[in-house]
């Protein structure tokens, strides 16, 4: 990684003493004024970035990794302030610098790219003009050559037809394209330091790869230093020289990428590393050492179950030539005349969009099947149809010999069949009624469809379910906002299994969770499946996660199935080009 750097042609900060790091953060403490008093988001953090070096700051949510970078740029919001420590960039004490000096530094010497690229761009200004604003601010272009320069920069970030895209508004560009524009903004003035704050979170894995490759190439070309802030250890190790691991506002370990992987020192780093799903690893391997060897899990750690019985018996679920069509999105009114916005049916444009385009698959009894694809591939639409939450346009959904697709979604809710198919939702917060306690949420399906009657009996069942999912019964009377993300996920799982369903659809059940919580939840799901002989349809974008839980994998692209087969063969001997492309895009640290 730290190969030879091209000599930076602009030597602007000539007072930068040789040998010193480009950025030195010492003993940094950042405080936030909150309702519960002063909270230290970052405590005594030391970070150094050498010239041309690529550094990753890795941590889970709340670790203070983003706050650290905001403090460096001095763009903390009003409630936050640097309480202690020093930030020295290129010999300049950033805490002492005037606002005007900081403005000159930002964008010109150090710049930043953010998580959500579309939101990071002014929605009503042409992207070309936004780049020109930066160039003009730092006086790097005169009025006669400014447009040419902006187009040139767009070309450098590999935007096709840059002269045309110069006139585009952000909403006319895809997410990946928007991120390129944000990169163009950040690199327009050839700064010495680039801070990338979760630059690819929310992007598809293939887009992530192109964006990261582009950033790496451009920064290396220019001899720039980079700080990559991410929650993804693999991503950090793939693209960075050194890794800083943060936990609860403090740096727990700093080492080279290779060292972090081979010989992690701090227990937290080890835990994080174990919890990150990787090729060849096991489900149990995700858990911290002490828990993985614990009695509870070891007792039924039957990892390899023969999927053979699924073939002989008729499948639990059979989907045949399933199609879902949507009318193309129409326009909605603005202003007072469109005061109560109505969705206008696309009457002029009669063409329809096929979200799901004739797919067929089966799920056997006790089998778990992964449904994998990137955003917009139709996997969530498929799961909603199988769940009978929405109606399909054509095809069959046969559950245990009965065509449940023929029953309208509206009337399916009250049928006895309903209790046999349940679901775990993607966002544990959104899927809990804020006004129901955990116990009430778990009891809801029992009250509506269950056989158990009577307060005490239902309560006892709730406590039993809480025990099954590892939720302390003391938490049953809490409201969702009083529970952590992992606890909310457990409540959602308890609710889904309350009626002992035969088929459970898991819709990205861990996408909103930190990796360490994900590890626990995945193991829990696996144990429950063994215990109650349930079938899973696991919808996910993450092949590494699907691999751990599923016997078979279905890969979807643009509403169609491109590949299907046993997990091992799909992952290790993919047939379809798209599957290979997906696998190749997963960051793999070269150690």
């Amino acid at each position: 990684m730290s190969g030879e750097h091209l000599v930076n042609e602009h030597v602007r900060l000539s007072n930068h003493p040789p040998g010193l790091p480009l950025l030195a953060v010492k003993n940094l403490t950042v405080e936030f004024q909150t309702r519960r008093g002063v909270v230290q988001a970052v405590r005594n953090v030391d970070i150094e970035v050498a010239k041309g070096e690529t550094l990753a700051i890795v941590g889970e949510s709340g670790s203070g990794k983003s706050v650290t970078s905001y403090a460096v740029m001095r763009i903390l919001d009003r409630a936050g302030r640097i309480a202690e420590g020093s930030v020295v960039f290129s010999g300049i004490d950033m805490r002492q610098a005037s606002d005007e000096q900081m403005r000159d530094l930002r964008g010109r010497e150090m710049s930043m790219i953010f998580q959500n690229p579309r939101a990071a761009l002014n929605p009503i200004r042409k992207v070309g003009h936004q780049i020109e604003d930066v160039l003009r601010q730092h006086a790097l272009a005169g009025s006669d050559d400014i447009k040419a320069k902006a187009i040139d920069i767009l070309e450098q970030v590999r935007i096709a037809r840059p002269a045309e895209r110069y006139h585009a508004y952000p909403f006319e560009l895809s997410g990946g394209m928007c991120q390129r524009v944000v990169i163009a903004l950040a690199l327009a003035c050839r700064p010495q330091l680039l801070i990338a704050d979760e630059p690819t979170t929310g992007l598809d894995v293939t887009t992530q790869k192109t964006v990261m490759d582009l950033v790496t190439e451009l920064t290396r070309q220019r001899g720039m230093s980079t700080i990559l802030i991410t929650h993804d250890l693999d991503l950090a190790a793939t693209y960075c020289d050194r890794v800083v691991v943060m936990e609860k506002g403090q740096v727990v370990e700093t080492a080279t990428a290779a060292r972090i992987f081979k010989a992690p020192q701090h227990p937290y780093t080890r835990r994080l590393l174990r919890a990150t799903p990787k090729p060849g690893g096991t489900l149990r391997g995700l858990l911290p050492e002490d828990e993985a060897t614990g009695a509870r899990h070891a007792a039924r750690a039957s990892e390899d179950k023969a999927p053979g019985d699924a073939e002989s018996a008729p499948p639990l679920l059979a989907v045949e030539a399933l199609v879902k069509e949507y009318p193309r999105a129409g326009v909605s009114g603005h202003g007072l005349l469109g005061f109560l916005k109505r969705e206008k049916k696309a009457d002029a444009d009669a063409s329809v969009f096929r979200a799901v385009d004739g797919i067929s698959f089966t799920v056997g009894r006790g089998e778990s099947v992964g449904l994998v694809g990137e955003s917009g591939c139709g996997k969530s639409t498929t799961s909603s149809m199988v769940m009978r939450l929405i109606d399909h346009s054509a095809g069959k959904i046969v559950f245990d010999g009965e065509d449940i697709g023929a029953i309208p979604a509206k009337s399916f809710a009250r049928l006895p069949l309903r209790r046999r198919i349940q679901m775990v939702f993607q966002d544990p917060t959104d899927s809990l009624n804020p006004r129901y306690t955990a116990a009430r949420a778990i009891a809801d399906p029992i009250l509506r469809l269950g056989a158990i009657k009577g307060r005490a009996a239902i309560r006892a069942r709730c406590e039993e379910l809480a025990g099954l999912v590892g939720l302390p019964t003391a938490l049953l009377d809490r409201f969702p906002h009083q529970l952590s993300g992992g606890q909310k996920a457990r409540v959602g799982i308890a609710r889904a299994i309350a009626l002992e369903p035969e088929l459970v659809i898991l819709d990205e059940p861990t996408a909103a969770l930190d990796v360490s919580v994900q590890a626990v939840v995945l193991n829990l799901l696996h144990d429950l499946k063994e215990q109650f002989a349930m079938s899973y349809l696991f919808v996910s974008h993450d092949l590494n996660v699907v691999r751990l839980l599923c016997d078979r994998v279905i890969v979807m692209q643009a509403g169609r199935i491109v590949e299907e087969g046993p997990t091992q063969s799909v992952l290790y001997a993919p047939q379809a080009a798209y599957t290979r492309q997906l696998l190749a895009a997963i960051p793999r640290p070269q150690l």
């Binding site: 309903r418 209790r419 399906p445 952590s484 606890q487």
Partner: protein, 299 residues
């Protein structure tokens, strides 16, 4: 990021402190913004005046005494007397009940009509939505006060019709808020989960959607309460609805309007000030309630 910051939580271990109950939140809002507490006290005073005002006022609000006409404020007549020598203080206090009742009943009426129509429109969509939206659009096509004038003129010049007119012109505001909130929640995860648990649409509406929309609707009530009072007072100012000699703030200001030019300010000032304070109180209360329900929307 800020969410993670204000609530630093370790991985999956301990739960958050259960201190963020509604009560604690209310206490926080009150201590953070004492004005909300003040406006609540003011509200209690107005409610008290409406309840017992007519029984405790020092003079009969209708008794005229031409010998004591047009007196500026004195110890006997705190707010002075009007053209007919009636005690303005007694009239202002007595009027509280009528103004309060007009505003409250019109808001209650529109809350039920607009709230249910809006929730149904947002939840069911389709034809229900189209009808409710078209109705609201048509009402919104008129300047609201002008429509209220037209409705009162057509239905007849009575207090009941002022209430009805005020409710009708407020209908779109309620329907819109309720529709938007219901629409957002229609596909929320917990509503989907309730469907999977075997809840019917009606039950989902009642147990999942309504309780979650209620707080926002309550804020809407206290925000439009002030407008309802202003609307009713404006109508009676131009001579609609309430008839003299009934004490009512709007009509009392109208009665004092001609005397302003000759310098007898007190006849119009006190009822006008009472009106202003009442509306001010409801607006502050509405802002405070909004903070209580959703601190992020604070502006």
């Amino acid at each position: 990021m800020t969410e993670a910051l204000s609530n630093p939580r370790p991985l999956d271990a301990e739960p958050a402190r259960p201190s963020s109950s509604l009560f604690a939140h209310a206490r926080y809002v009150l201590s953070d913004n004492p004005i909300t507490g003040f406006s609540f006290a003011l509200f209690l005073m107005i409610a008290l005046a409406a309840l017992i005002g007519p029984y405790v006022v020092p003079h009969d609000p209708l008794a005229s005494d031409t010998s004591a006409a047009l007196q500026p404020p004195t110890w006997k007549h705190w707010f002075g007397t009007d053209q007919l020598g009636r005690d303005i203080f007694s009239r202002v206090v007595t009027a509280t009940r009528l103004d309060f009742v007009i505003a409250l009943s019109s808001v209650a009426l529109v809350f039920v009509m607009g709230g249910f129509a809006g929730i149904a429109a947002g939840f069911y969509g389709g034809w229900t939505d189209r009808i409710v939206s078209r109705l609201a659009d048509t009402i919104m096509a008129f300047p609201l006060f002008v429509l209220a004038m037209g409705i009162v003129a057509a239905l007849g010049n009575t207090v009941t019709n002022i209430v009805i007119a005020t409710a009708i012109v407020n209908f779109p505001l309620y329907a819109r808020v309720a529709r938007a909130e219901a629409n957002v929640r229609r596909d929320a995860g917990y509503v989907q989960a309730a469907r999977l648990s075997g809840n019917s649409d009606a039950r989902i509406l009642l147990t999942q959607i309504l309780p979650n929309i209620m707080p926002i609707m309550m804020v809407q009530i206290s925000l439009t309460m002030g407008y309802a009072i202003l609307n009713a007072a404006g109508l009676s100012f131009i001579g609609l609805g309430v008839k003299p000699p009934t004490p009512e703030w709007g009509i009392m200001v109208a009665e004092g309007a001609t005397n302003i030019i000759s310098g007898e300010w007190w006849i119009a000032l006190f009822p006008g000030a009472a009106l202003m304070i009442a509306v001010f109180c409801f607006n502050l209360l509405g802002d405070g309630l909004r903070d209580l329900v959703d601190p992020q929307r604070r502006t």
